[in-house]
């Protein structure tokens, strides 16, 4: 160890080390410093807070629609407003809430759980947040200005095409997709690199926490599926802006091309939303059953199998389009078989609870709610995987019930449990137990009241995306119940958010209030900027349960400038050290330049050649190499 470069070691530890590391890893104060942050914890919190705001906006849309559908032939909303509302609800929930909130939690937790100090590409992560925010502001800004999209979150052509998609609404939708896809891809890339190369020494692939496995599989799915929808929306923008013929049947284009490309993304998308939630479940079940996961290799293989199988199912969204029936049978079989890995995961979770000693704190309550709810959604999914059944149920409220059961039951309930579980780590305080239980029961029971009747109304003939329905079809009662349930859910979410806010002054939490086994609980709550004073080494899947006194650590990282430890892919043995990016304003500036280019290209194709110039300049400034002095340390060959 050179005396010239300060590195941590057995003799350099404690408060002196901590203040030196804080200096190295913190960002400047003030607005510019805030915009220039590359701290994954800060960016993760921004993602989560922004996503919750979009959840509230989309939820308000839903409640408004439920008021309209409460009674038949209602006149509360006209057709135009209703069509905009369900489009904004779906687009916001899918692109601006579900994926970003999962990615936000992943960004926050992954470096902590694998035992490193920051993400692999910190500035890319910052850039992705600004792109996400810009996309959301663009969509909602256009909505409030009166030309938000109104063709559904899936924006089928030819309805969204140049002739029937009147005005700029469909372009706004398509460009929002571009913004959010760029953001999601950037996050997926940085997460994958972090998980594969920056794990703590000794954290072999067989010891990686299950949430991190879920994050890895999800990120790879994002990388393979998001380009399909980004390309699809680009083709739509091209048709609408410069008159290409991609989706024009009269000129050898194809309206179904849109659907194939969209659903090739759209089906993996729902697993991108679901699999991180399975990661939450695994972590919460482990901690609150007081034992390690039964069948860890099975859970990992199930995650991978689900991730791969999810790419072979997309035609089940197109069973009514008249494609060859023989081909459909393949997709029926594939859609059925994707439930096998999930069924195995469920077995492993229940086996863990059974063999453990479960403590029914609020996070575990949400896991129980997941079982009751998601399994119904999964089984209704098995029902609609069969073509003869889907041909009746497709595009009815039965489908609405199905996907809300799997998305809310399968992702939102675990998310609420995860927020309750990790809130102490983020803030150093515990959430209110009483309010937590109240909002839990309200959201769980309110959800059943809101969405179970939709199975019935679908069977009774109510199609989707209708702003009203006639009396005399037996739809009055299910719709009334759904509306009441929706408002109960809305109130429950308000109470949950209230809990988040008032708990800032709640009971103080220590480093590890739940006595959980994974590495993020080995540091303070909230974690310091540098995450860990010394990089931990692990010897098992449950490091904090096996090394009750103190964790083994590695020494040798620089203290005065940000540096990361890279390890090998499978066995996580130490490989090399790598400097980590300092705070930088260029991700923000680049995001502004790219946003201007994207927004401009909605109105004129000239925005692309002109807009690329500032983008090029900002990216050049971003990547401009830093001059560094030659190292004074001996190079070890």
């Amino acid at each position: 160890m050179s005396a010239r470069v300060l590195r941590d070691g057995p003799n350099f530890t404690g408060p002196k080390l901590e203040s030196a590391l804080t200096l190295a890893w913190s960002r400047p104060r003030g607005l510019i410093g805030w915009l220039a942050s590359v701290d994954h914890k800060e960016i993760g919190v921004r993602y989560i807070v922004t996503a919750l705001i979009f959840l509230a906006l989309a939820g308000a849309m839903a409640l408004h629609m439920r008021l309209q559908l409460m009674v038949p032939d209602n006149t509360l909303m006209n057709a135009e407003l209703f069509n905009e509302s369900f489009t904004m609800h779906g687009t916001t929930m899918m692109f601006l809430f579900a994926v970003p909130v999962m990615q936000g939690v992943q960004i926050y937790l992954t470096p902590l759980m694998v035992g490193t100090r920051n993400m692999a590409f910190p500035r890319l992560t910052a850039f992705s947040y600004y792109m996400y925010l810009a996309g959301g502001l663009f969509l909602w800004g256009c909505h409030f200005l009166g030309f938000g999209p109104d063709n559904g979150w899936f924006s089928y052509v030819p309805l969204a095409g140049p002739q029937y998609g009147i005005g700029k609404r469909a372009d706004v939708w398509a460009q929002t997709v571009t913004f959010t896809e760029v953001a999601a891809l950037a996050v997926a890339v940085t997460l994958t690199a972090t998980i594969l190369k920056q794990r703590a020494p000794g954290m072999t692939l067989a010891r990686v926490p299950l949430f991190v496995w879920a994050t890895l599989v999800t990120s790879l799915m994002v990388i393979f599926s998001m380009p399909a929808v980004a390309l699809d929306s680009a083709l739509l923008l091209s048709d609408r802006l410069v008159g290409t013929q991609f989706f024009n049947p009269a000129e050898h284009g194809d309206a179904l091309l849109w659907q194939h490309m969209f659903w090739f993304f759209g089906h993996p998308e729902v697993y991108i939303i679901f699999l991180p939630a399975t990661g939450f479940i695994s972590e919460i079940v482990t901690t609150f059953s007081r034992r390690s996961m039964f069948g860890y290799p099975i859970v990992v293989l199930s995650l991978v199998a689900t991730g791969i199988l999810a790419f072979g199912l997309w035609v089940h969204h197109m069973f009514a389009t008249g494609l060859p029936r023989v081909g459909y049978s393949f997709y029926t079989a594939a859609s059925m078989s994707v439930s096998i890995p999930t069924g195995l995961q469920i077995y492993c979770w229940i086996a863990t609870i059974w063999q453990g000693r479960p403590k029914f704190e609020v996070p575990l309550l949400y896991v129980i709610a997941f079982f009751f709810t998601f399994v119904i959604g999964g089984l209704s999914g098995v029902i609609i995987a069969a073509v003869p059944l889907d041909l009746q149920l497709h595009d009815t409220y039965f489908i609405v019930a199905h996907f809300h059961y799997v998305l809310i039951g399968g992702s939102v309930f675990p998310l609420l449990g995860a927020i309750t579980y990790w809130y102490p780590k983020l803030t150093g305080r515990m959430m209110s137990e009483g309010l937590g239980r109240v909002s839990f029961w309200m959201v769980f029971l309110g959800f059943q009241l809101a969405f179970f009747p939709m199975h019935i109304s679908g069977l009774l003939g109510m199609p989707r995306r209708v702003y009203t329905y006639p009396a005399g079809m037996g739809l009055e009662l299910p719709n009334m119940l759904s509306t009441i349930g929706a408002f109960v859910v809305g109130l429950a979410v308000v109470l949950f958010v209230l809990n988040l806010i008032i708990s800032f002054a709640g009971e103080e939490a220590g480093d590890n209030p739940w006595d959980a086994p994974s590495l993020e609980w080995a540091t303070s709550s909230p974690p310091p900027e540098y995450n860990f004073a010394h990089i931990p080494a692990v010897e098992s899947r449950t490091p904090l349960w096996d090394d009750r006194t103190s964790l083994p650590v590695v020494y040798g990282l620089k203290v005065e400038s940000p540096e990361l430890l890279l390890t090998t892919f499978v066995s996580a043995s130490t490989e090399t050290r790598e400097p980590s990016a300092m705070p930088s304003i260029w991700p923000f500036v680049s995001a502004i330049a790219v946003s201007v280019m994207f927004v401009g290209s909605v109105f004129s194709p000239w925005a692309i050649p002109f807009g690329i110039v500032p983008v090029g300049i900002a990216l050049t400034a971003w990547f401009w190499p830093k001059k560094s002095e030659p190292s004074e340390e001996a190079v070890i060959a």
Binding site: E80, G141, C142, L145, G146, F147, P158, G161, P162, Q163, Y164, G165, I166, G167, K168, R169, D239, R240, L241, V242, G243, Q245, N248, P249, A250, E251, I592, A593, V596, M597, V599, G600, F603, S604, A607, F610, G611, V613, P614, I617, A618
Partner: protein, 182 residues
């Protein structure tokens, strides 16, 4: 330089966004007792004594800037078989609509007059066959064929066989008086 580009494009985009309200508004009911915007009394653009023609009613101009009106006009153009004589703007039995040459005036209220009144040598009169609102919508669409209209309100193409360059790229032809249909 970069900040100039950024600023100007931001300004254009902002303006385009803000002016979006009128562009995307849909008024399918229109004026339920009949559109009352006066169609042009005279097809001429030259008046004796150096006078100027009456200025265009702003409600008429609003038709040209409204994407819904233009899209409806595009549908009506197909439905009423305007292409039977005018093709898709290139002309045939009837004069071309994509050039800037107008025998009976190329302003939107003059085009509306041509549609409503009919014209010699074969242009039928549509008054009483189409509502006034539909006639204004058709006139707005016809204006786009020669590129007179803001590009963010037109659809680039129809879902038909390709019959013209994309409408969003149509170069604006100056509106001139034509002596004949050639």
């Amino acid at each position: 330089m970069s900040s100039l580009y950024r600023n100007s494009f931001a300004a254009i985009a902002l303006l385009a966004l803000i002016c979006g309200c009128d562009r995307d508004k849909q008024e399918p009911r229109g004026n339920p007792l009949g559109e009352t915007i006066p169609i042009a009394a005279s097809p001429d653009t030259i008046f004796p004594g150096g006078k100027t023609p009456p200025s265009l009613d702003p409600r008429a101009a609003a038709y040209e800037q409204n994407a819904y009106a233009i899209a409806q006009g595009q549908q009506l153009f197909t439905w009423m078989n305007c292409a039977g004589c005018h093709s898709h703007g290139g002309g045939g039995m009837g004069p071309a609509l994509m050039d800037g040459k107008w025998r009976y005036g190329g302003r939107i209220d003059q085009i509306a007059a041509s549609i409503a009144n009919g014209r010699p040598n074969g242009m039928p009169s549509w008054r009483g066959k189409l509502t006034n609102q539909q006639i204004w919508q058709l006139a707005a669409y016809v204006r786009t064929l020669s590129g007179q209209v803001r590009k963010d309100a037109v659809g680039a193409r129809g879902d038909t066989m390709s019959n013209s360059p994309p409408q969003t790229e149509t170069v604006r032809k100056p509106v001139t008086q034509a002596d004949s249909a050639q």
